[in-house]
Subunit: 210 residues, 2 copies
């Protein structure tokens, strides 16, 4: 059996030191770099730094929203599970409407996915949106914005997979509807990255990191 | 706004068709290929097929265990969240001991991580083990096996990150302690992959796919 590091603080420090050493973070403003570091830490891939797109105000807007008590919407339970509640301002509401009793019927009626229907139950106004699974959730969110839904404070977009993930994030990055956003272009993504982006905002909101 | 696919069945079919077309699955036996397909689907990366290591009996052993009512242990709540309960045999227990009231004290006492201490609360005998976050959980599991703990039916190992992830999976792949396993070598991994591997076993146990 090979020896291994057991000390949580040492693991934490060595992990983030490796990310900061290996990832190409130079192009990012300082606050965006903090988001990038935590997203990279969550997936083990330093090379994704090259494929992150963002609005320069996504961190400031997200931080201000969290401090003002904004809720966080997650597109699936895994994203909600990955958010570290103790990092968030006390009383922050983490909401996932995927398993809301109304969602399945709404999806059937609208001939769409449950993930997309769930978005119709979101109160987007000033909210933090974390999408870590379903491209259709991001597409539906953008449609709702086009229909006049109130603007979120930040969209953290990490839908993953082979149908619509790259396309939905390209749509967001090319036409963000004046909403601050962070996304990983291409097929890669996932709930761990989406949760990590929320956790990074929470740490920045509490005055940590940097 | 670009058009997008909204039909869940069409998305599902196109996703898996893309994985089967693009991923190099030829080297896998049929049942292992099914596990690989779902793990790839969960992360959006066809190239990970080249870095999967496995014991040839991992699917048959995992399927038999699920059919016999074995519990599933997850190293973190995200993995547990990602397991689709309706796919599993009725009554299958999904267990996560990370937030057990005893775990934090056990970790302090053993001078290790909570993730490693949580493993000491697992009844490994014939269980399905899904690790999607913590390298120290996999290291501790291997230590327990060396200490004589009863063998699990399958270890699905996808710890992720920069400290210990590659090393713990190399230890497993090189010396699996006669336990059937599937792992993704290197730094990459994550809870979505671990959950997907469990879901694939569940579908195979119910007679689906292939």
């Amino acid at each position: 059996m090979r020896p291994y590091e057991r000390d949580p603080q040492a693991i934490y420090a060595a992990s983030f030191a490796t990310v900061r050493k290996e990832a190409a973070l130079d192009r990012f403003p300082a606050d965006i770099a903090e988001l990038a570091v935590r997203v990279i830490h969550a997936c083990g891939m330093v090379e994704i730094a090259d494929r992150l797109s963002y609005a320069p105000d996504v961190a400031t807007s997200g931080i201000a929203a969290l401090r003002a008590g904004a809720p966080v919407y997650a597109d699936c339970e895994m994203v909600a599970s990955g958010i570290t509640r103790r990092l968030l301002p006390e009383g922050t509401d983490i909401r996932c409407t995927l398993n809301d009793p109304r969602t399945a019927d709404m999806a059937r009626e609208a001939r769409t996915t449950r993930s997309a229907a769930a978005v119709d139950l979101w109160d987007t106004d000033g909210a933090i949106i974390a999408i870590g699974n379903a491209p259709t959730a991001l597409f539906r969110l953008l449609e709702r914005l086009d229909e006049g839904a109130p603007k979120p404070a930040a969209i953290l977009a990490f839908p993953v997979g082979f149908v619509g993930a790259a396309e939905s994030k390209a749509e967001l990055a090319e036409r963000p509807r004046a909403v601050p956003f962070l996304c990983l272009r291409g097929r890669r993504g996932g709930s761990a990255m989406a949760s990590a982006a929320v956790n990074a905002l929470a740490i920045l909101a509490a005055g940590g990191m940097q």
